[in-house]
Amino acid sequence: MQLKYVFSETGNGLKRNVSMTIALVVTIFISLTLVGLGLLLNAQANKAEDYWGSKLQISVVLCNQNSRSPHCTSGETNPAQQAAIVDILNTHPEVASYSYETKAQAFKTWKKIYVSKDAEERQIYAAVTENDMQNSYRVTLKDPQQYRGVESALSGMDGVDKVNDLRDVLQPILTTFNKMKWGALVVAAFLLLAAVLQVSNAIRLAAFARRKEIGIMRLVGASNLYISLPFLMETLVAAVIGVAGAALAVGGVMYFFVYGNLRPDLHVVEWVSWRDAGTALAEVAALGILATLIPTLVTTRKYLKV
């Protein structure tokens, strides 16, 4: 088989159907980019869930001298108040377990999170002492969805400054990751459908443009493979360009956004890494090749059969 012919025919085919090829490449490119971003967001959601997993508890913050809550009128929570709180925690049916976090422990965590690049902010942070922290109980629930009972039971008690439900803060972020992931994947699914249909249309159009050559090839006994190879190559080239574009776009998002903005500035969570991006792109490449090769094979069988 003369590969030269296959390559020159592939080139000719791409040129002849420039508009079809561009439309196809663009659709593949955008859909795969969205699939890539969807996979990244998925990785991000998983990372966040792991990272925050232990934090999806509620914490019962006790009063200190600075507390302004009406339940903190007597300043620092006294032992009697604290005993009443522990009693509730021991008996309430929603509570699975709990642990006590002292001011000292809270201060250690605080110092870890509040590290600033800004000189002035650093000065301010330096002024914070252990005594500005508050003692608290970290409560793990039997069913993470069932927490309203224990929350309302505790938040009305004297000596309880507030009941922090970290899930109120973190769950929306997780939900946002998930929503964005599904948004990207749904739009990507639509566009992938369009891409698959376009592949088969591109082949119909190409088979039509080349119908004379194909008729003669079949007549003089060219093999099936020889006839369909240029078509396969054509869509493969489109797929490869689409995949490369998607890789560039996802890489751009990683470089400029994740590594440029999120990772240096936002420490709330562990962000996706180049490694996750690599995995996502490998999946995207496989999907891109499959989503073009399968309709190509089906359509060439239909339009070029011996």
């Binding site: 003369q2 012919y5 004379k212 007549l219 003089v220 006994g221 060219a222 099936n224 011996v306």
Partner: protein, 229 residues
């Protein structure tokens, strides 16, 4: 070379059979005219030989093989043994005469050196020496049909099939084409030609198979077009 045994075939969605119980045996080296009214099944007969169509009943043997039992990946090999020429030439308009002929060899994977050797040879055989660089629309209809014959013959097939090759040509030009087919036949190639052209059939005095409504109504070794049995 070509044998039809009780061959019947009906196109999908048709009531009437295009061919009904046809028995024909064509020897190696014969020159056979296939005549008959429009719709009598001549083209269908030729399509069966090429396995472009398949019979509903009966068997078609080409070069000793029953071609309907043949796996579809073997069909290209079958077609390489058969050269085909049509009424409408079917040349590629964006290739020169020589490129059109060479195309038939390229797409079956012949090496370039072989192509460079046989293409000019074949062009000379069909009387187109020196016209290899012309484009198809720069030559006459008769010359275009010669290119088509060169393309069909360049791989030296055992069988040459022609479906009304003179249908688009004027009587004078047609005579030239018939002389060429006769010459090719004399190299040992079996020639099977469907035609309406009474003048040609009468003049050549070759074997004539006449179809009517899909059945063989005449098979005569040195026949004329209009013979009524």
């Amino acid at each position: 070379m070509i044998r039809f045994e009780n061959v019947s075939t009906t196109y999908p969605g048709q009531n009437r059979a295009a061919l009904g119980n046809v028995n024909v045996d064509i020897e190696k080296g014969e020159f056979v005219f296939l005549v008959g009214a429009s719709g009598s099944g001549k083209s269908t007969f030729l399509r069966l030989v090429l396995r472009e169509a398949r019979p509903n009943h009966g068997r078609v043997y080409v070069a000793g093989k029953e071609i309907n039992r043949m796996a579809s990946w073997k069909v290209p090999a079958l077609r390489r043994k058969i050269g085909t020429v049509f009424q409408d030439f079917r040349l590629l308009p964006n290739k020169t005469v020589a490129e059109n002929v060479a195309f038939a060899l390229q797409v079956i994977g012949k090496p370039k050196s072989h192509i460079n050797l046989v293409v000019p040879e074949t062009l000379e055989l069909v009387g187109l020496e020196g016209k290899g660089d012309r484009m198809p629309d720069e030559i006459s209809g008769g010359e275009q049909q010669r290119v088509a014959i060169a393309r069909a013959f360049v791989n030296r097939p055992q069988i040459l099939i022609a479906d009304e090759p003179t249908g688009n040509l004027d009587p004078e030009t047609s005579v030239g084409i018939m002389k060429l087919l006769d010459r090719i036949n004399r190299t040992g190639t079996t020639v099977l030609m469907a035609t309406h052209d009474a003048g040609i059939v009468d003049q050549m005095r070759k074997r004539v198979i006449e179809l009517s409504d899909g059945t063989v109504v005449r098979d005569q070794s040195r026949g004329v077009y209009g013979f009524q049995h």
